[in-house]
Subunit: 448 residues, 2 copies
Amino acid sequence: MLCKSIVYSVQKSPKPRQLHHMPKAPLPGEPAKPYTLTEIPGPRSEALLNEFSKIQQVGSIQYFGDYQRSVGNYLADIDGNVFLDMFMQLSTLALGYNHRSILGALSCGGNQRVIANRPAIGLFPGLEWPCKIQDTLLQPCVAPKGLPCIFTAMCGACSIEHAIQMAFIKYAERHRRGKDFTEEEKESAPFNKPPGCPELSILSFEGGFHGRTFGALALTHYKYIMKIDIPSLQWPIAPYPHYLYPLDQHEKENKEEDARCLEQRSIPFILDEIQTGGGATGRIWAHEYFELNIPPDIVTFSYKMQASGFYHSPEYMPKQPYRVFNAWMGDPIQILLLEAVLQTIEAEDLLTHVCYVGNYLLCQLNALQHEFSDIISSVRGRGFIIAFDTRCRDMKKKLMHLLRNKGIQVGDCGTKSIRLRPCLIFGEYHADIFLEILRDCLQELAEY
Amino acid sequence: MLCKSIVYSVQKSPKPRQLHHMPKAPLPGEPAKPYTLTEIPGPRSEALLNEFSKIQQVGSIQYFGDYQRSVGNYLADIDGNVFLDMFMQLSTLALGYNHRSILGALSCGGNQRVIANRPAIGLFPGLEWPCKIQDTLLQPCVAPKGLPCIFTAMCGACSIEHAIQMAFIKYAERHRRGKDFTEEEKESAPFNKPPGCPELSILSFEGGFHGRTFGALALTHYKYIMKIDIPSLQWPIAPYPHYLYPLDQHEKENKEEDARCLEQRSIPFILDEIQTGGGATGRIWAHEYFELNIPPDIVTFSYKMQASGFYHSPEYMPKQPYRVFNAWMGDPIQILLLEAVLQTIEAEDLLTHVCYVGNYLLCQLNALQHEFSDIISSVRGRGFIIAFDTRCRDMKKKLMHLLRNKGIQVGDCGTKSIRLRPCLIFGEYHADIFLEILRDCLQELAEY
């Protein structure tokens, strides 16, 4: 069973260990505010888009970034515009642009030699690989409780693909009760036929998104444009609770909604934390808030974790090699970047920071929602995973257009929602800039 | 239709542009010969394997590499052994270990800033991205003829996944004859149901391997251990020609075998060049040897190309954005590495070099095959994609064991085959070392 990547548990934050939050000021190198000099996309981005459209579908490209000039929370484009980035490359950049810890890791000669020799990690891992895994993904404060095993991959979709394979393998092993593969299984498997390739399925949530490769896409039930014309699998789909917000004012209704959707099943439980992991919620993993009695069987990661893959419980480890396998099985550079991210999270107490600023942002958005209740509603979130609804699809487009032209980059979500996914060094100072510009835009829409 | 990644056309090589092949000597920094100090894996690798087995299936790991000490064609392990590497990380390292051009690219500060800010390339590509794509993947001497469009991805399996999606989209578009999606298609697609998710299929070759994600695995009909217990799709499987070698002595039989397997079909034609591209055959793409009258519709790449993705013809470009899409859509570091590889291939005329040394190696292997016909047979290949059969699975294991303990790293393949996949800077000098040790091993087996 795959969980939709949204946090939906009780709304409380851990006690801050200390109170040295960042001052209300720009970070070193950051501009004081976002600014735009052109319509977005500007003429240089337009010209480059026009050129690039000959070799690629460019309809998804918003503008071209100038990553040499981008810094901290600010994304510069090639037309001289500078955005306060609250989307951070689909929520994948943990520490914003050109963070000193990331640049430091990449400028180290020893690391460059590690990066230069990308090995097939499943065959010839480097000397430092087990140790680096231990110091990053398996740190006691990082690894999900109860899941001491790891499989690494190149990206999020591959993590999902290999995670569901491991679940199928374990499921079949249980049913085989210690017996070896039969000859019939071995002979039918290369031809995609049962019993070798059995007719098993994964249960996933209505509305969920888990990736775009064939297996991950079969678990995705989001926008039709992602799936239309592509064959799929008749796997079951579970209802997903539709909550009312704010949560503390709708406890009764939401509990009823939970009861409607929840049913305990004795099947492998896979939690997809690709978007929610890496500190985005104010804890390393969103499911730390769930207060589960037993750990999930598998937890996938990617995005802010820089490295991709999944944790799993020891009983899921396949008995034979090459069953869950991949040429690269991840890339050492991803672990070096993760190392820099985790060291910064620790040194700057960024989890406490995310909880604090996330709560501040949610409170202020709730106030705006009351003031502009015709335009926005259902403010919700945890830490830096925040979303709100607009009245309709058209209103969402208008609001995003206004925000972007005033230098705020946010993310699109569903039909009428806007999502905020700032990086972990987003501060109260940046929140205030965003809130002021958002208020201007809402005012403009209200008068319109 | 997916092609099995093996070159099977006529056996002739392009005329060398010049004759300045590398001298018969080690490359700078390389040892004179491979050497082993311990059994393989050595005690340090064994100890680390034992430790690492607690967190991962380690049955596929041969030993741990010391990549700081590896150089050129030589892979050092952590027990002080140094292997002449004729497998090169599953054929993915194009220029061997710690090549100056790769280290040079990684030590450049501007490149480090590009790498530090990995963007969501489908949304906010960097200023330099289109230009870098143009200068690398789309160079006239690099891009496959007739395929000027490109989609980039993180790894080979993802390239296959997105390539088959694009083929399905194009196929459906043709059948729709310019009409828009129907409401029924839009409503059924998120739930995996037809007509939104149609019952279409991909025809792939018996025995082929294309990757380990769900879609790629459904096209893979290789070893059962890759597929057993994992559900699959009832897609059709085409016979693949089983040739007799050497090709020039079996023209008649092989033509009959072709006739048995070939049937022209008016369906999208996808060529998987993930393992064969990047100069491994002595041309950038293996299908350059096929002398096709019309180009394939899609050509996938990864491995030696450093970057992953696929080329496609303009008519395959989806009309709507977000249909073939992915969070990262590749990584700028992969293009920077490809740039270094291509510049080196050009500067050192490595394609000519690969043809020359590949032919030399094939000739010498053919001679050995005559001398030891009880042990090895069916020597075959093109450039640096070479394989031969052993008498049986057991003989293959013995030979690989002997070779490895004398410091030669080769690759496993099928039931009884051994594959050689040296990097592009493998020279006649290295070939001679390999051939001498191989002869010793064959002699030992013959006496046994």
